[in-house]
Amino acid sequence: MTVFAEYAWLVPVFPVAAFAVLIAMGRGAGRPGAWIGTLATLLSLILSLCIAGERISGKAEDYSAHYHWLQVGNISLSAGYEVTNLTSLMLVIVTLVSFLVNLYSQGYMRDDDRMPTFFAYMGLFTGSMLGLVLADNLLTMYIFWELVGVCSFLLVGFWFHKPEAKAAAKKAFIVTRIGDLGLLIAILLLFWYMPNHALDFSTLHNVFATQSGVIATGITTWIALLIFLGAVGKSGQFPLHVWLPDAMEGPTPISALIHAATMVAAGVFLVARTFDIFQASPAAMHTVAIIGAFTAIFAATIGLAQNDIKRILAYSTISQLGYMMLALGVGSMPAAMFHLFTHAFFKALLFLGAGSIIHGVHTQDIREMGGLGRKMKTTAWTFGIGALALSGIPPFAGFWSKDAILTAALDKQPILFVVGAVAAFFTALYMARLFFLVFTGNPRNDSHAHESPAVMTIPLVVLAVLAVVAGFVQTPFNGWFAEWLTGDKAVEHGSGLVMVVSAAIGLLGVYLGWLIYAKGAIRRDVVSSRMPGLVKLLENKYYIDELYHLLFVKPLYALGKVLNAFDDYVVDGVVRLAGQSATGLGRLNARLQSGQVQAYTLTALIGLVILALAIAGRRFW
């Protein structure tokens, strides 16, 4: 039975329509106009819930439909959508987070005179992400993939007059485009290697999952790695993570959207959607696992030394996405999607909470905050729940999903498990640092912080509830989620050891953070006084940005300058020389308005006569 799935195409259409309406109305739409965007997202949410409900309750068939996009010879490139359990899950995540962010933005963006534009962009952003989720083939997905990228660019650069926003938007687009090139070439490869040039996911599944050997392993590895390059760019994995922390120059609700449900989730989703290709190539799987694990610990260490509240959260996102990639790399797609699911809620919660804090104190530096717990009660306790979920403290959602990943990692490769566990410790530590510095102790500046309006706190409360309960869909005692997602009964059951270890690590991190930043039992500069070099390295994010600037940006511009001179003096110079030697012609043409039409027509006529003569007297040449 598929009732709602047939209308799945409407899910992205609502927000995109809102975008079109709002853009057409321009700034005149005003504050009421902004509600069009929110309402459209609400409609999408309702429909997504119906679709997911239908799939959870009954034995609904996968539904897909596609349309002719363009035809070349007898090859047809189509655009289509497909509803499966995986896509319906993503629909709910995206629309739910997007709706809550929309609602929140009604309060957060209240005083911005470009509010309708903001909601228009957000509609296109949500719609593109939904289109990406629903796409039934890689080309359609790529189209929406790029649109998601451009929307994130527009929103990061929403406050376009700020030079930082301009730079961040540009960086986000260009860095992710490096990954997009990989995905594009992967599509080109698939097009030419797949039987009948098929690009749709069900054919991909048939070809790769059956190990039929239609495509050689070497090519499969290339395809998988190139797809992964796309995911690395979008999901902010090392070495293309540099855009994500800068992307917080956008309005904070957008950070929540980018970091939780749209944009960065797209990378993980892409790998999950083409998982059969990865599974057909062990080399690609290893790469994914290693990059994921490395990114998880790499970003977590940077998070320890940052002072900007949004930057800390941004690095935590990179780190958590690393976990998801790790899960994919060790072959547990359900664990990755599970973590994506829980992470969407608690990360949206944390960013919206951060927005609420910034709204109240007008600074992003956690060293200037403090004691906010008393002034912003709702924000404080919801943020606390989010922080606990992120730190992997039971029974919050993040614990269960991180546990699933660590279990899968331990099964495959103990070293990956250790890396993941250490990263989890750092995560708990930097979240504790963040929480205690912001909400406890004495205020460190004299701003009159106040709680945010209800339109902003209600989404926080909803997300806080979800951050508590969302984890229970899949626990070591209940494998419902993985079973529903993959249709497989055989799901790994967690070991008690992993649970204990991961809970202990999380608690230890929080405890240490409490000792340092709340109780003051350990001096804060205990590390920085002994190893100033290390702290400096972390504060400067391992100098990756500077390195890239030196390695890529500067040489490119230098090359450009050299080529520019070459173009001017050599390529054009040769012509100039030739032109000067033909001074007669030059002088003739310098006089522009003296009967040149006739002269030129004459030249053309002479040419014609020569043509005729040449044909006539052809035996002489």
Partner: protein, 539 residues
Amino acid sequence: MIENIPILSFILLAPLVGALLVLLLPKQRSGWLRITALVFSLIPLALCLWLFASYQPGAGGTAFTEHYTWLSIPLNKDASQGIASMLLHFDYHLAVDGISLPMLLLTSIVSSMAAMASVHIRKRWKMYYVLFLLLETGMYGVFLARDLILFFIFFEITLIPMFFLIGIWGYFGREKAANRFLVYNGLGSAAMLLAFLILIATAGFTAAQAAGGYQLDFSGSYDVLLKNLSDPNAYANLDPAKTGDLGLHLSNNLKWGAFVLLLIAFGIKIPIFPFHTWMLRVHKEAPPSIVMIHSGVLLKMGVYGLIRFGAFLLPAQLHSWSTVLAVLGVINILYGAILACVQKEFKLVLAYSSVSHMGIVLLGIASLNEIGLQGAIYQSVSHGLISALLFLIVGSLYERTGTTELDDLGGLAKSVPFLSGILLTAGLASLGLPGLSGFVGEFLSFLGLFGSMKWLTAVGVLGILFAAVYVLRSVLGITFGPIQDRLTEIKDARFVEAVPMIALTALIILLGVYPSILTDLMQHGFTGLLEQFTQRAGG
């Protein structure tokens, strides 16, 4: 019923009639002049849309054709004892197929929009519009002509008005630019003429047996050439003993000569590195409304010529030089893109980006398959629309700010949100954002070439990364960031400026979202050529 109306001639002649009317109008009435020019640009647009609506690709593409013998010149018959008579035809032969129709549509759209954009022209309106309309006729003629000589004439006709339009109404360095334009294109025309001559003299005739020997009938007819060149036995019945030392057969060396000459002739127009410097100057110095036509349509005449004559007439040569063409394409893409990244002047950014985008067209042609060839045409049309839109905006921006130097601009999104929004959209289209037309052309071109040359394609794809760099650098440089004081008071687009901008943007979106509208036209356009390639590959 449509068959009975010489619609192609109407398209061709409407601007000419307009030019005559403009000549009759008083020269100080700029409004009348502008409206006349616009109306006579819109008539071909309407007719082209009619063609578009009634064109059926399955019908073989010759549904619309007009053919009259124009001149017939007897040549000296003492050439050889075996020849009874020699005749030289000049034919007026127009036709439309799946390759020329997209180009015609592009021409009519861009010309109409450029006519509207000519509102910024400040002097000598009458002469301007006469030349403008003459230029239009030339362009239509190029895409309609099915006779080599006719094609050559129209090709030349576009040069004369362009020369004056650049030289009189351009910016500071206009005269030098016009000069450079003429020198280069003159060289190209010479090469083209020579190539056409070789082709006509050796393969452009039909031979019939008559009482006194052969009757040789020379003409520049494209159909005759196509038939003779694609059929290895075309002149099998021609006895070499009787024709003497005429050497009527097109030898392989001559074919190569003709191919290289055509590549140079159209390579200058496209332009292919290192023949591109003239077009940088035109982009920089010509008035924006003329650059719209130049970048939008005139460069595509090179693409069209290369496909129509280079590919269709000499497929074997193209086949063996496909790698050369692909390498030239990749050089164009990367060279143009890297140079676009360091330009300080917006028009030069756009000029180098045109070099880069035309490189993608070359890749499509080099692919030798239908995907790539359709991609090449699609990319040409799309680039035509996008650069027309970009230069339309440049014209409006220059009117308001008096500069196109990137350092002197910034933050315009605050004072002119509409113009900035359109500029951003055009920029995104230019960097190949899916959902806008640029992506389809690029994707098809890359997809086509990837089938035969994987590594070259992969290197070429890098170009779209650089495209993101130079587009964002320049467009964000103009629209984002803090606004300079002197730019805060400027006004947003007027209605007359906004109409063509919205129209072009809408078309760019339409072609990006629903590409079938254009690709369906081309469906049977390449059938004959592809058969030739398959034969090469097979044999």
